[in-house]
């Protein structure tokens, strides 16, 4: 009897995993469809990479070791961050506009009716999208940068593995934050102003404009503790070997995991508040 129950539970879990895997695969395929858009994005990321790289060369020539990086590390920072931009949806994009639109039109009622959790559903879809953009929009700019400039890419495969874990955590932090923005549509209806502000904040506080380690004093310490640091700065520092010891690396990943828990938890709370608010009109 008890064995039967356990088997049933296991079956249920397996079904859930299969469901979210299918949603993620759908997210991947959806973005893979737009070849020209991907090529255009790769071109833009590469152009920006070149522009920023030259300014960093000028900066690091005058101040070698700025922010704890040498010039090759600073250039690696530029090119890897250009490769991660699209996947992390750091300059907008992703799903929250779509979620907001579904709230505005009332399609969200259909989503809530599905035998799947709203947050997990969107997380799976967004991770699928990110996986495609990591490959489709990440590899070429990084290769272009590595061809032209001397980068400090590690040769140690375990460092790359750690980087991949850190990137994944960063992607979930990014999702969790954008999910909160998406849900705000339940109260605001028009999310364009909020989205714009969110983009501004993420461009600045993720370290995309300038590595957060270059930010001075107490302000620097403050920005390095914010969730945006978990999206770009921490994965890059893991890759560049700034968290070389096992303890340091674990600390960096724990910092990311902490934000994952806090933000996903906040998303749960806001979601239950939002769904209590929904009144579905017939017709």
């Amino acid at each position: 009897m008890r064995q039967g129950v356990r088997q049933g539970v296991r079956e249920g879990v397996r079904e859930e995993v299969a469901l979210y895997a299918a949603v993620a695969a759908g997210g991947f395929r959806r973005y893979a469809t737009y070849g020209t858009a991907t090529a255009a994005g790769v071109f833009t990321n590469t152009v920006f990479g070149f522009i920023v790289a030259f300014t960093y060369i000028a900066l690091w020539e005058q101040r070698p070791g700025l922010g704890g990086y040498d010039q090759a590390q600073a250039l690696t920072f530029v090119w890897v961050s250009q490769s991660l931009l699209a996947a992390g949806a750091l300059i907008g994009g992703g799903f929250q506009e779509e979620l907001q639109e579904r709230v505005r039109t009332g399609d969200i009622a259909v989503d809530l009716y599905r035998p799947a959790d709203l947050q997990m559903w969107w997380l799976a879809a967004d991770l699928g999208r990110a996986a495609f953009q990591l490959l489709g929009r990440g590899l070429v700019p990084l290769a272009a940068g590595a061809l032209v400039f001397r980068l400090a890419l590690p040769s140690d495969p375990s460092r790359w593995l750690l980087f991949l874990v850190s990137v994944t955590l960063g992607l979930v932090v990014s999702f969790a934050l954008r999910y909160l923005l998406g849900l705000l549509a339940f109260w605001l209806l028009d999310g364009s102003g909020i989205n714009l502000m969110a983009t501004v904040v993420s461009i600045f506080f993720s370290g995309m404009l300038l590595p957060l380690t270059v930010f001075p004093g107490a302000f620097g310490e403050f920005v390095r503790a914010l969730p945006w640091a978990a999206m770009l700065q921490v994965p890059l520092d893991v890759l560049l070997g700034e968290h070389a010891g096992a303890g340091d690396a674990a600390g960096a990943l724990a910092f990311q995991a902490g934000w994952v828990l806090v933000l996903l938890g906040a998303g749960r709370l806001l979601q239950s508040a939002a769904t209590r608010k929904v009144v579905v009109q017939g017709g």
Partner: protein
């Protein structure tokens, strides 16, 4: 003889017609813009937030430059107020172009969903409609912020002002805006061929502006040649600003080249408008 008369008559016919078309285009543009402004004002909170956000996006760019200068005294030999002059002028120029026809990059979406067909049958020139599409008043934020930084730079800098230099500042902003506008029209035309490639023009507009806010001495010579002679972004603010600052052009162009910006702005509209016409002519509806 008869041919010559006919030609003259045609010429006389063409001029008023062309002028009428321009007036018609501007009138249509004005009407559509007024409509979008009214619609924007329906959601006032969102409008205020997004205007402030628009100014803040670019202001944070400048904060990043400011932080760079907390570690160094000069970048590529330029001081902070000098970089602020570059930054403010290109930001205001791009803001101007972005306000007036920044939504031309939506044309790819219009082609995809078939709503471009609706535009083609309306009695207003297509470019005017595309340019005014979803006119976003919030972009005033960027212009205001750019002008603010520019004003600070001009007050802080120790420039030996001449009549030419005083004249050059507003000319630089308008010509710069026109050059960016031409890039946007060309980018929109490109979407007739590659509908999903809206992002390519960002490389030249936003990417161009990111480049122009730093001194030209920072970049490789080949890159400088490219943005001077191929896509003449250097005329947006580098050459005029170098003249105002009394600095030589790293490519060795003479000082008077700074005053060529308005001519360059006109010149770049030729390929842009040819591309636009070719694009419109090649357009095939998706049928949906």
């Amino acid at each position: 003889m008869a041919e010559a008369v006919l030609e003259r008559e045609f010429a006389e016919l063409e001029v008023p017609r062309a002028r009428g078309r321009l007036r018609e285009g501007l009138r249509g543009y004005g009407l559509i813009v007024a409509m979008w402004v009214r619609s924007t004002m329906t959601y006032r909170t969102s409008f205020v937030l997004s205007t402030v956000g628009n100014a803040a996006i670019t202001l944070l760019d400048f904060v990043a430059i400011y932080i760079m200068f907390s570690h160094v005294d000069a970048l590529g030999g330029f001081t902070l107020p000098e970089v602020a002059l570059l930054y403010g002028s290109c930001s205001a120029s791009l803001g101007l172009a972005d306000l007036l026809l920044g939504n031309t990059d939506r044309i790819g979406a219009r082609i995809r969903d078939g709503s471009l067909d609706t535009m083609l049958v309306r009695p207003v020139p297509l470019l005017a409609q595309v340019a005014a599409d979803r006119f976003a008043l919030r972009r005033l934020g960027r212009i205001g912020q750019g002008l603010g930084v520019l004003g600070w730079a001009l007050c802080t800098l120790d420039v030996e002002w001449t009549a030419g230099k005083v004249l050059l500042v507003p000319v630089m902003l308008l010509a710069g805006g026109s050059i960016f506008a031409a890039v946007m029209v060309a980018g929109a035309a490109f979407q007739f061929i590659a509908g999903d490639a809206a992002e390519v023009q960002n490389s030249f507009t936003y990417g161009g502006c990111t480049m122009l806010q730093y001194p030209p001495t920072v970049f490789a010579t080949d890159l400088l040649r490219g943005v001077t002679f191929v896509v003449p972004l250097a005329f947006v603010n580098w050459l005029p600003a170098l003249y105002v600052l009394g600095r030589p052009d790293p490519l060795g162009l003479p000082g008077w080249a700074a005053f060529l910006s308005p001519l360059v702005a006109l010149a770049v509209f030729v390929p842009a408008s040819l591309a636009w016409r070719a694009g419109v002519r090649s357009y095939r509806s998706t049928g949906s």
